[in-house]
């Protein structure tokens, strides 16, 4: 309590997606989130890449199925470069 509002859930999912896409799909965010919502943003493009890899419906949108896959435990990717 208080019950999580829809907006909270969406914000939490966005946060999850941003962390996920930064970690595994080199999403550059420079700390700002302003590019998250437009369909042609890097954020949406990275979601598309991720959806394609996992055989999900490629929408570029953060739908519940995409969030579910992002929540699954998985192998990390070491930062080989630096």
């Amino acid at each position: 309590f208080p019950a999580v509002t829809e907006a909270n859930i969406m914000e939490r999912n966005m946060q999850l997606a941003e962390t996920y896409l930064k970690r595994y799909y080199d999403l550059e965010t420079d700390g700002k989130h302003f590019m998250r919502r437009t369909s042609s943003s890097p954020f949406s493009e990275k979601i598309r890449q991720m959806q394609e890899f996992f055989g999900l419906k490629v929408t570029g949108k953060l739908d519940s199925e995409t969030v579910r896959v992002m929540q699954q435990p998985r192998c990390g990717v070491p930062d080989v470069a630096s």
Partner: protein
């Protein structure tokens, strides 16, 4: 499968590994065994050899770490990131780290160390993530059975692409992942479950929700870890909200994710004679609260209320279900029809008019 960009590989096939520390979750001997078995997954199918050393730097250093552990790739506490490994190379190259905030185990409660280690060692050898959901190198953890694990064909192809085949006379092969509209697929069993339909084949099932156009492929064990693969028959009893799975002379009763206490049981406790070795298919008929069990060219009727097989059975399938003359591999009921699956064919049988209404491909429900 995919190879790490730049194709980094070890330039010799005799590699060394060292276990730098242990997780408190498992006995050290179990960790040692899991790591050794994980390397064997790859040495069985290539010329690679892995030797454990105890002193001095090895090619692949193995450690349990938490949070930020100094390699610019911090772990994240329980779940989420489970482990990572570095591509072949000097120094940190090949090294594998497990997130010790996870619960590691040699069984299926928690994360199975052998399965995760085998995946990470794929990276240590130069493989990247595969988009084949049944592959070991698929990035997401799946609750496979470590005791019956076989390296999938996708991973065999990948590692042999880098290091060539094994010198063993017998060429190893592994399980493949079915593709949804593969016309060769024969379903092992099909059940309805709270409005969804599940199509079982080998260690997988497709889950079709009426409101989603696309069916979703899952491991059987990611839903029900104690169920065997290769299920032969299954049905849903909506009255009790149970689903029952059959393989050989055993059957399991489940409610949602939970396998009910006391299962598996023997099918002979249901009253089948010992001549019945396995069940081909089963379906619950809501109108009569009977379950039909199909075995060969005969079927039995089981009264779910009285919990006994009905008298005057078995009967000939073809006699009571005209048109159904082939072996029944799977069957389910929907909207007053029984859908009999025989090989790649599916017969829509009207329960009321007692005749086959349509003949379809067996994968028509999956949008094929």
């Amino acid at each position: 499968y995919s190879i790490t960009p730049g194709r980094p590989v070890w330039d010799n096939t005799d590699l060394t590994y060292r276990i730098l520390n242990y997780t408190p979750d498992m006995a050290q001997a179990d960790v040692d065994r899991a790591i050794e078995k994980a390397f064997k997954v790859w040495s069985d199918v290539t010329p690679l050899k892995f030797t454990r050393i105890y002193d001095g730097p090895s090619d692949i250093e193995i450690a349990f770490e938490t949070g930020d552990h100094g390699d610019n790739s911090p772990f994240d506490g329980p779940d989420g990131l489970l482990a990572h490994a570095f591509q072949p190379g000097k120094g940190i190259g090949g090294d594998t780290h497990f997130d010790d905030d996870e619960k590691w185990s040699k069984g299926t409660n928690g994360y199975n160390l052998f399965l995760v280690a085998a995946h990470e060692f794929g990276h240590s050898l130069g493989l990247s993530h595969s988009d084949d959901p049944g592959a070991l190198m698929f990035p997401n953890y799946s609750n496979d059975d470590p005791n019956t694990f076989h390296l999938p064909q996708d991973d065999i192809n990948a590692i042999q692409d880098l290091y060539g085949p094994t010198t063993n006379a017998v060429k190893p092969t592994g399980p493949t992942t079915p593709t949804i509209c593969d016309s060769k697929i024969i379903f092992d069993a099909i059940i309805t479950l709270r409005g969804e339909i599940m199509f079982f084949t080998d260690r997988f099932f497709w889950r079709k929700h009426p409101q989603t156009p696309q069916a979703e492929l899952n491991f059987i064990k990611s839903f029900w870890s104690s169920l065997p693969t290769g299920i032969e028959a299954a049905y849903e009893n909506p009255e009790t909200d149970q689903i029952l799975f059959f393989k050989g002379s055993k059957y399991w009763a489940l409610s949602g994710y939970e396998v009910l206490y006391g299962y598996p049981k023997s099918i002979y406790q249901l009253g089948f004679p010992k001549t019945v070795k396995k069940i081909d298919a089963a379906v619950y008929i809501e109108e009569t609260q009977k379950t039909y069990f199909f075995v060969g060219d005969k079927y039995w009727s089981y009264d779910e209320e009285r919990k006994v097989l009905d008298k005057d059975f078995p009967r000939e399938i073809a006699e009571d279900f005209p048109g159904i003359t082939q072996k029944v591999h799977a069957v389910f009921q929907k909207n007053g029809f029984l859908y009999f699956f025989s090989g790649q064919r599916q017969y829509e049988f009207s329960i009321t008019s007692k005749k086959v209404m349509r003949l379809m491909k067996n994968n028509s429900w999956l949008g094929c």
